[in-house]
């Protein structure tokens, strides 16, 4: 094992992750190379320093902050709430609406022109007070409208 290869293995050696043969070869080299030993010690100190970093903790009201954030996201105007924890994304709602509008448009286009009018033809009725200035003469009544087929 050459020195460069040995340097590459220092990290794994400190992790205790080296194959027995590599470990023995490295230890033999370490025994006779003070520079390599110094490298190993410096690396060991670095790992110890990393491991000794204090555990940072979140604020005491972390859970309630998360819950609030979750609630805010549920109430987002871009999302339609569906049940307690289910959401229909805004994009899906938009697609559904576009689909409905498109379907309506196609239906209207496909219908024959004379059926596209939504209001049935209503026969003109005489004004209620048509005979008011006619000496009270009653006009003959129109027959009742039959709107059924």
């Amino acid at each position: 094992m050459d020195r460069e290869r040995a340097k590459e293995l220092l990290s794994e050696y400190l992790d205790g992750d080296l194959e027995p043969a590599d470990r023995e070869a490295l230890e033999a080299l370490l025994a006779e190379d003070p520079v390599l030993r110094a490298d190993l010690e410096a690396l060991r100190r670095t790992l110890e320093a990393l491991g000794a970093l204090p555990d940072e903790r979140p604020s005491d009201d972390f859970l309630s902050q998360v819950k609030q954030k979750l609630k805010r996201q549920r109430k987002s105007p871009l999302d339609v709430s569906f049940g307690m924890d289910r959401k229909i994304p805004f994009e899906a709602v938009s697609m559904i609406l576009i689909g409905i509008l498109l379907a309506l448009y196609l239906i209207l286009v496909a219908l024959p022109k004379d059926q596209t009018s939504l209001s049935p033809e209503v026969p003109r009725l005489a004004p209620k007070d048509a005979g008011a200035g006619d000496g009270g003469r009653q006009l003959p009544r129109s027959p009742p409208m039959d709107l059924q087929d």
Partner: protein
Amino acid sequence: MSDQGSTPTAPEAESPDGADPVSAELAAGALSTEERERLDERRLIRRLKRGDERAFATVVRTYQGRVFNMVFRMVGNREEAEDLSQDVFVTVFQSIDTFRGDSKLSTWLYRVTVNHCKNRLKYLRRRKKHLGRPLDEVAEAELARGSGSAQTTYHAHIPRPDEEASGRQMEVLLQREIAALEEEHRVLVVLRDIQGLSYQEIAEITGLNIGTIKSRLHRARLALKEALERKM
């Protein structure tokens, strides 16, 4: 630094008659601690998938320390870390249906955390907001600790004042050098050397193979070692 093993969780399965399989297994006989933990976790995941808010609170309380510590070491800023950690748990709750149970919940949670960190760092880089802030935050954390804040716990013994001063100096220095690492190296240092995860777990979290993890981690450690040697 503890080395946690990785035991993949079996996909959860409901019995056809609706009976709780976990209770059945518990009733069937004594289980090892590991098996019991795995079953507890499966039960917790089922409750989460049903939208049980108490289960969600349990998950937050259990993992908030680990998630926050990891995020803080990644972004180096308490305010960002708090916001980002909250986002992690919101994502967990909203995406729990996509969790298949092939890995441990903690592994999946770390994966969500890593993704959030990467996205936030990218965003911060674009906004150029992070420049100069991590150090401010460490200094702020130090001040808070000096005034008796309960936000930080120590692994080590109660230090003498001179030890404490050099410990803080080392922390500031380390945090600065961690922040200077390339993002993909920083993730590995945080997961392995600060969070104490196994290579197998890191591979599951990052999707990298173990050989790549080892070589990148070695380069990251060397960079930190050289930086510390220059500055100490």
